[in-house]
Amino acid sequence: MSILLTKDTTFIVQGITGREAVNLTRECLDYGAKIVGGVTPGRKGRDVHGVPVFDTVAQVVEANGPVPDGSVVTVPPAFTRDAVFEAIEAGVKLIVVVTERIPRRDVAAMVELAEMRGARVIGPNCLGVIVPDACKMGGIGGPARDAAKAYTPGPVGVMSRSGGMTTEISSTLTAAGLGQSTAVSIGGDAIIGSTYAELMPLFEADDETEAIVIYTEPGGRMEAQLAEWVADNDSSLPIVAFMAGRFMDDEEMKGMSFGHAGTIVEGEEDTAAQKIARLQAAGIPVVERIDEIPDAVKEKLGARV
């Protein structure tokens, strides 16, 4: 199996008529995704690559029959909170927020409403989720033929704070003969809908997933939270981590963020060195090179058998 998506997952695209959204729709359709509608207020009656466009999420639901399983939200930052609320209140349970530069307060509000309604938010500032050869929800992996080159079905679950590196890592795994059960670009912001630790129970419950690879960065407590989760839950799923941005630990780089908004180091605990120590203390090896990941995974898988 997989987590979050299957080949039967239906979803909509909010903001579907935007330039990036049009590309993303094409890519997902080519990969075999079931996009049942799109929403752009004021554009009802058009279509994007054959996907009908509506003014509201409620209209899509009415036209489609069942409530779509998910929504990819790619609207400007000032409108994202409202768009996500609209999807959640229409009964959509999986919301992938692509938009970046959304103020934290708005993200936190989306997540809180999602919790109340039993929905899940992935992102913001992410490229989405892919289940190799089954479904792709978001720009993850790029055009379908590129995604097919990088991703193959297999036993490794991938979670990454960087969208691009989700694919770089998966491609490296693929080249080493290790496929992926599900790859999730979790987003690069300080507050995101689903952290590593929050997705772990799903991977843990998934029959197909036998190991996890995470891409991590300085900033925030997400890695510490994962280390705590592993210790508290006596998890048997082996995890391998890669830490980027070690150079940010330099004295001269203090107070700066690089790459993603969430890399801002606000306390001693957020530094790369501290995170590496924490992860290792929890039994999670932290490799220095992307190309070391496959061997580290194989070693873990071997030890498990």
Binding site: P103, G188, D250, F258, G259, I290
Partner: protein
């Protein structure tokens, strides 16, 4: 973005939290006038965006307007942690009975704002939390429901504070939590929050930081505080390189480029595709003994002109011998456009692309076309079968 103390006090004041009758001054003469108006002893505080003012001599007490003028003049000339002060704040010396701490921060794990209160103010809250955990009260608030006073009361009461102190501190913490949300703050602290001899509470210092992403919708507040849109409040003065890359990026809405060189002093210029890849490759260059001259990102769908602009600025940096251009797999940035831009920059500066570009890692959109262009100019390139680490190694080898 971080606010100066005088701005933070104004923000607190606008939220209905009592402050002293302070004055913000940019000259010694103004400081004298402010001290005269206040009457009695005053405190003069350097207005810099950094901690440790007291230790550095940026906070002084004056008993007369003459002395205030003299001390303000000295503080205005005093550099603290590399920063010259924006001005000084002249504050009446308060008759303090007790100091408290009130603050609101983001709890990233719970994804909610966290109210903090302590009856041991005036020192670092982390220190209090570590040494006297029973003197720190905590409470989360919702992102959807308005903050209720009772929530703040619970937090204050946790520290054992009761009586009229509890009733006076409660609305202050509640208002701080409301302003934190309404103003998109990432940090809102009053430390110390003082109880004066007459029992009233007053904010004696405030530290506010607002999320950069919220600048646009907080424009009214920034205007009210007189903060110009180009006042970026970076932790350091941007370099010529950084300013120029920013200008090139702003001039064209297609694609995004970023270039930074604060803290980088090397000879290998970097042009790298997108966030996570840039972090990974910068590490890979350094770990293998390379000396990066800068950090950079190129993402989205940039024009040739933008790619050229970034490459040109990197090449023009002092001490840059060669550049490495490295893309991670499927950044949706077109490799051929980046290749064209980088080669154009080389040619314009009369540098041979084959000599100047140490390595070009091509995986990405339109990579075949990119490879063809690179071949034409004899540039060494590699595809996804060469890892980021290996590509970085090859670049480092060429610039000893």
């Amino acid at each position: 973005m971080r606010f100066f103390e005088y701005e933070s006090r104004r923000i607190v004041e606008m939220a209905g939290i009592p402050v002293t009758q302070y004055g913000f001054c940019t000259t010694a003469a103004e400081a004298r006038k402010a001290a005269e108006e206040i009457g009695g002893s005053v405190v003069i505080k350097s207005q810099v965006l950094t901690g440790g003012r007291m230790k550095a001599g940026g906070v002084k007490f004056a008993d007369s307007p003459d002395q205030a003028e003299k001390l303000a003049g000295e503080i205005l000339e005093l550099e603290i942690n590399g920063q010259m002060p924006r001005g000084v704040l002249v504050d009446p010396k308060a008759e303090v009975a007790q100091e408290y701490y009130a603050g609101v921060v983001w709890d990233g794990t719970r994804k909610r704002p966290l109210m903090l209160f302590s009856d041991m103010g005036g020192i670092d809250i982390e220190e209090v939390a570590e040494k006297h955990p029973d003197h720190v009260g905590r409470g989360h608030v919702s992102n959807l429901l308005p903050v209720s006073d009772f929530q703040a009361k619970d937090v204050v009461a946790q520290t054992g504070v009761t009586g009229s102190e509890l009733n006076r501190a409660t609305p202050i913490l509640a208002r701080l939590a409301r302003l934190f949300a309404e103003r998109d703050m990432t940090l809102a602290e009053i430390n110390p929050l003082a109880r004066l001899e007459d029992g009233s509470f007053v904010a004696l210092d405030a530290h506010m930081e607002m999320e950069d992403e919220a600048k646009e919708r907080q424009k009214a507040l920034l205007d009210e505080l007189g903060i110009a849109s180009d006042d970026t409040r970076e932790p350091y003065e941007p370099s010529e390189f950084e300013r120029r890359v920013r200008a090139i990026d702003a001039a064209d809405h297609r694609g995004v480029i970023q270039g930074r060189d604060h803290g980088f002093h090397g000879n290998l210029g970097l042009v790298i595709g997108a966030g996570g890849g840039s972090l990974t490759l910068t590490d890979a260059v350094r770990s293998q003994g390379g000396k990066p001259a800068n950090y950079s990102e190129i993402g989205g769908n940039p024009s040739v002109a933008k790619a050229r602009g970034l490459a040109r600025e990197v090449l023009l940096k002092d001490g840059v011998e060669k550049i490495a251009v490295m893309m991670s797999i499927v950044s949706n940035t077109r490799v051929d456009i980046v290749a064209r831009g980088v080669i154009k920059a080389c040619l314009e500066l009369e540098r041979d692309p084959a000599e100047t570009i140490s390595i070009f890692r091509v995986p990405g959109a339109w990579e075949e076309e990119g490879a063809r262009i690179l071949e034409r100019y004899g540039v060494e390139y590699c595809n996804r079968s060469v890892s980021m680490w290996e590509a970085a190694r090859r670049a480092v080898e060429k610039v000893p």
